[in-house]
Amino acid sequence: MEMNEFIKNFANQFDDTDANEFIPETLFRELEEWSSLNALAVMNMIAKKYATKLTPEEMKTAQTIQELFDLVASKK
């Protein structure tokens, strides 16, 4: 798993947020565009691109993109 690629895939789930806003430290839940719809999109993206199924409860433990990346990496 590679962080730059993960960030690109993550950012792809957003339409209006500037691409520069996505860095490992980004607190993604605080982004204006974040919603339950993005949350499902991110979960679907992780399932499809990383063949890893996160539960909503697991997903909730991650605040930053780095934490989400680590979570997916730990389950792979």
């Binding site: 339950s36 719809l37 499902l40 999109a41 679907n44 499809k48 539960t55 909503p56 409860e57 997903m59």
Partner: protein, 247 residues
């Protein structure tokens, strides 16, 4: 009241190894039916089997996602007075992530295999005159929809169309067909719904009765549709949603 009894009725229930189908099996046996229960997981199916009141019941584990699995079940079952098609899956996926294999999987298990099973039961003369066919559909796809559920909704709407046409076709044999449309029911299925426990708790407030349904509550509707109490009911969708779609 004897009109609600399932005594002397042989009834096939799929998806009986878990959730709604399991509750249906237990309740139908209590109502006097002789059952053939089916599910994919043998252990869970046997667990349901041990909970059935009365004797002469049968259990048959099979994977309904394969044509062979459906055929094996049809060969196994004796002539039936009732059939509840209840096996189903939910895999929330936004349209932008759907691949051909996802379409095939959900539509196959939730709808195509249901049609296969029903037509084979009929063609093999396993469905007696006067029998009742019940399909577990959903409010989703028929009365409302949820984000990420396009395939599930499509599969459940397919069941409605199928049921209505066969209700007409089979009426001359006195065979009735109906669907049940549950809202959210507390089963394992919710765990695969990608909705967090917190969101599920909040969602219950959207129900006028302020809770989700219990599997037994769906089972009682099935008993009504399988029994002679519903002898003039065919071609309907029985809504069971705690008032959710009133809004």
């Amino acid at each position: 009241m004897s009109v609600f009894s399932l005594k002397n009725k042989t009834i096939l229930i799929t998806g009986a190894s878990s959730g709604i189908g399991k509750a249906m099996a237990i309740a139908c046996a209590q109502a006097g039916a002789t059952l053939i229960i089916s599910g994919r997981n043998k252990e869970r199916l046997e667990h349901t089997f041990t909970m059935l009141e009365g004797s002469n019941h049968l259990a048959f584990a099979t994977d309904l996602s394969t044509t062979q699995g459906v055929k094996l079940l049809v060969d196994f079952v004796p002539k039936i007075d009732g059939f509840v098609s209840n096996a189903g899956i939910v895999e929330p996926l936004l349209l932008q992530f759907i691949e051909t294999s996802d379409i095939e999987k959900t539509l196959h298990i939730n709808a195509i295999s249901v049609i296969e099973l029903t037509r084979l039961l009929l063609q093999e003369k396993k469905i007696k005159k006067g029998a009742s066919l019940v399909f577990t559909s959903s409010i989703n796809g028929n009365k409302c929809a949820y984000i990420g559920s396009s395939l599930y909704a499509a599969s459940k709407a397919m069941l409605t169309g199928f049921m209505k046409a066969i209700a007409l076709e089979l009426a001359p044999k006195g065979i009735r067909a109906n669907t049940i449309e549950p809202g959210m029911i507390e089963t394992e299925l919710l765990k695969n719904s990608d909705i967090s426990l917190e969101d599920l708790e909040n969602d219950k407030q959207n129900y006028p009765l302020k809770r989700y349904g219990k599997p037994e509550e769906v089972a009682y509707a099935a008993i009504f549709l399988l029994s002679d109490a519903s002898s003039w009911t065919t071609g309907t969708n029985m809504l069971l949603d705690g008032g959710y779609t009133l809004h």
